[in-house]
Subunit: 255 residues, 2 copies
């Protein structure tokens, strides 16, 4: 079902992640407090510098491609190829000094993400998912692991408070639940260490890069109705390594 | 108030952390599922191997010292010096593949921790707090940051569900809350990136190493009554970089 992603774009996305990392690393744990004026906080400076670096490379290499960035907005949204960027996903982790934040880079064609990069620039960890190829972690193919159901799963989500009903809260009696993490938790599904991530109200730039990474490793990622994620959707997402966990989690969030 | 820690013990604790890291790293993301039999899970194997390596070094260097380890129990608890060990604090993070777990090594004298090491062996990050010295991160002195109050604070805790009353939950309207992290969050107080950590029901081996790290960086760490942490206490702890945040958080948890 997935469209193949031309290999030149896969290589190019790696260059984009490199450029973003160069822009971000000097600002991580740079010592300024987070309660400085928002415009001069380290995370805002790093966010904008990284997105500017990425956009500049895209404009030079593919001037007819569209770009939608979390920080600097949209150009050519009707182009065949649209790059979707979140230079720092996990700003709270960045501010707390935890190397769990990620740079997210996606390439969409016809509304479908065909390439996704999840890059942690401090630990130098990079997951790349591309249509027609296995997901790779730092160059090596990775795969989801088997898991029979939610009761046996390692669940990751930002906070237990996101489960809206007490039914949902009880239902997510996963074997182990770990909180915090943002995109990093999805990446660890692809590597076979986490079984299930449930999140709500994500923006396009939060989820677009994750889909090819999860699917290319053999996992499933949909909205809470089990449908392919869409630009116009709720941004409520469920990702799982094993289809059985995904199906059960779908029933639970709707129950 | 703090007792000085003899410098030979500070150097020795660094060797202990090195040995633990050597034992742990091969098992991190080693690919076995967490739902294998508990005795053969990667985290259990790493936990025991690390503690055995540390204990062996202590037995050789200081055969009259006591040892209390989370995994392998207690010997010579009445000795003047007692080493308190948690080879892997943050087992959920370890299982999830997140390099946030830490090796905790404390040296206590007369019931008071005079030396604490928080070591993250994958990222090779080490905080060392020792009575009479400034806390060091990878060899360099670090300090807490100023923060006027809880409303301006970056709060870290394992989960928002740990706040027992809705009053507490509302009261902890910190500017930013980030969940997950265990000892790693306390270490980031010492480095001035997190302002406040509140946790409940910690064991001695969870908190003993943290106290010298926090205090040596200028922070405060007590129980929820504002008293020095004791072996016989509840294990409910509050740590803050700024005394104003600590005092306000104390009022909130008791309110």
């Amino acid at each position: 079902l997935n469209q193949d992603c031309p290999s030149e774009f896969v290589a190019f996305a790696g260059l984009l992640a490199e450029a973003a990392g160069e822009a971000i690393r000097p600002h991580f744990r740079s010592g300024l407090g987070f309660d400085d004026k928002a415009d001069s906080s380290p995370v805002t400076i790093a966010d904008r510098a990284a997105e500017a670096a990425i956009r500049s490379l895209i404009e030079k290499a593919y001037p007819d491609h569209g770009i939608w960035g979390e920080e600097l907005g949209m150009i050519r949204p009707e182009a065949e190829y649209l790059w979707v960027l979140d230079p720092i996903d996990g700003t709270k982790a960045f501010l707390a000094g935890k190397p769990l934040f990620c740079t997210l880079i996606a390439l969409m064609r016809g509304g479908v993400p065909i390439l996704g990069v999840i890059d942690q620039p401090v630990a130098r960890e990079r997951w790349v998912g591309a249509g027609g190829q296995p997901t790779r972690f730092n160059g090596n193919p990775v795969q989801v692991r088997a898991c029979a159901g939610v009761a046996a799963a390692l669940l990751n989500c930002t906070s237990p408070l996101m489960f809206r009903t007490s039914e949902q809260q009880q239902a997510f009696a996963a074997k182990i639940a770990h909180f915090g993490g943002d995109a990093y938790g999805f990446a660890l599904i692809a590597s076979g260490f986490i079984d299930l991530v449930v999140e709500a109200n994500l923006q396009l730039y939060d989820w677009a890069a994750l889909v090819p990474v999860i699917e290319g490793a053999g996992g499933r990622m949909t909205d809470w109705q089990g449908q392919r994620l869409r630009l116009s959707g709720s941004g409520d997402v469920i990702a799982a390594g094993d289809g059985r966990v995904h199906a059960e989690a779908l029933r639970l969030v709707r129950g």
